[in-house]
Point group: C2
DNA sequence: GTCTATAACCGGATAGAC
DNA sequence: GTCTATCCGGTTATAGAC
């Protein structure tokens, strides 16, 4: 669970509390002012530490983002736990999980664009496809594996192997759409989620049709070769 | 063709040449050192103007990127012209066009990551989905419309209406993959292009099957509603 | 060896004189 | 349209405190 401790230095009690204060201040300020408008200096002031101290715990502003990922992910897991243990229908599970993602992230809607773009950079220390994010990424993908395996849907085994990864990508697509969504109550994103999850589940059930089998196999072979090659 | 002139100030001869010098210097330096490592100061020095002058022509570093888009797009159009007038097979047209994209962009492979990420920001002045990029975006989408309409493929009319937009998105996906591709001669990207273009064309031809018709209609209605809502 | 702090560096962006 | 001077914020160097 606590992967960060393996990377960041905060073994002592004193360090723990400073680190938490800095992250808490960052979280508050991100919400109040947005990501770019929040300066490392302002974070340090609100946390009651010096600028240098902030950099002791978080080597860069983007490392605060990585912590933010993890924070949101834990919240998300807590929110979806009841759903995953109760619901067996794949469409409902998927819809619920993805809806929960955007609900969990909602307080950060204004910031999400800057964050997304800064981590989209392959050179970013916290690029979602990069090594630093690997532990968290694997956890999220594992969560989607459970969404599928815990359902009563019949999924061809070759598809089942790649589906969690594909759903993780799908989630990122939805997040990027949500970032642009200015509609009241984020209704447009919710609508897109409902439509796409339905569509995905339908396509999964169609994947076994003889006419589609060839394409499915080729597509999955491609996904597999891509997934293997990167990391 | 010269959309930039409507937006950027360079009506006089003198201005023209300064502007060109600045853009040329930027292009060189981007290739030599990458996007982030290239400072506005270095660009100004190489162009033989002051820092302030550079900002007179390009309100931000990202506006150089917009010009870069346009520059690459013109190159791309020139490269694919013969193919589009000769070839009628949709798969071959699509494959050729997408291959040409990455070939045209190849000199900037090292820079592309930073550029991509900086424009992925919804707050970016040159976000591909934003109003500033609209003219160029529409040109690219129109180009994909020609890729489809100039082929001998039979495409259901509802799909034909949205296909150019979808192919533009597909192209962006390929570009993002290419950014991460470190393989010799970019062979992995080429392989992915060959596979995916084949797959796309096959799916288009399957779209008329009765079992798929319902999903196709729903998917296209969704795409249409999304495309209408944004801009 | 862990934590904190101050001062400086660097580069994107801006103001305003000519 | 061109320049110089300056701001501002992410980052780094480095010195001292526990």
């Amino acid at each position: 669970m606590n992967t960060a401790s393996a990377v960041e230095p905060h073994r002592n009690k004193r360090g723990e509390s400073s680190r938490a204060a800095i992250f808490g201040a960052a979280l508050d300020l991100f919400q109040e002012r947005g990501y770019e408008a929040t300066t490392m200096r302002a974070i340090a002031v609100r946390a009651g530490v010096s600028l240098g101290s902030s950099y002791h715990y978080f080597p860069s502003k983007e490392h605060l983002v990585l912590e933010f990922y993890r924070h949101t992910h834990e919240l998300h897991l807590a929110v979806i736990a009841p759903l995953l243990s109760r619901e067996k229908d794949l469409a409902a599970r998927l819809r619920g999980v993805i809806r929960a993602v955007i609900v969990t992230c909602e307080p950060f809607h204004g910031v999400a664009g800057s964050i997304f773009s800064s981590v989209a950079n392959p050179a970013s220390a916290v690029n979602p496809f990069g090594p630093t994010s690997r532990a968290l990424r694997d956890e999220v993908i594992a969560m989607y594996a459970e969404v599928v395996s815990g359902s009563d849907a019949k999924v061809p085994s070759d598809l089942a192997a790649e589906l969690p990864l594909l759903l993780w990508l799908y989630q990122m697509g939805i997040l990027y759409f949500w970032i642009f969504d200015r509609s009241q109550g984020r209704l447009r994103t919710l609508e897109v989620i409902d439509q796409t999850t339905d569509l995905i589940v339908r396509l999964i059930s169609l994947a076994n049709l003889p006419v589609l089998r060839g394409s499915r196999r080729r597509a999955l072979a491609l996904v597999r070769s891509i997934a293997e090659g990167s990391h």
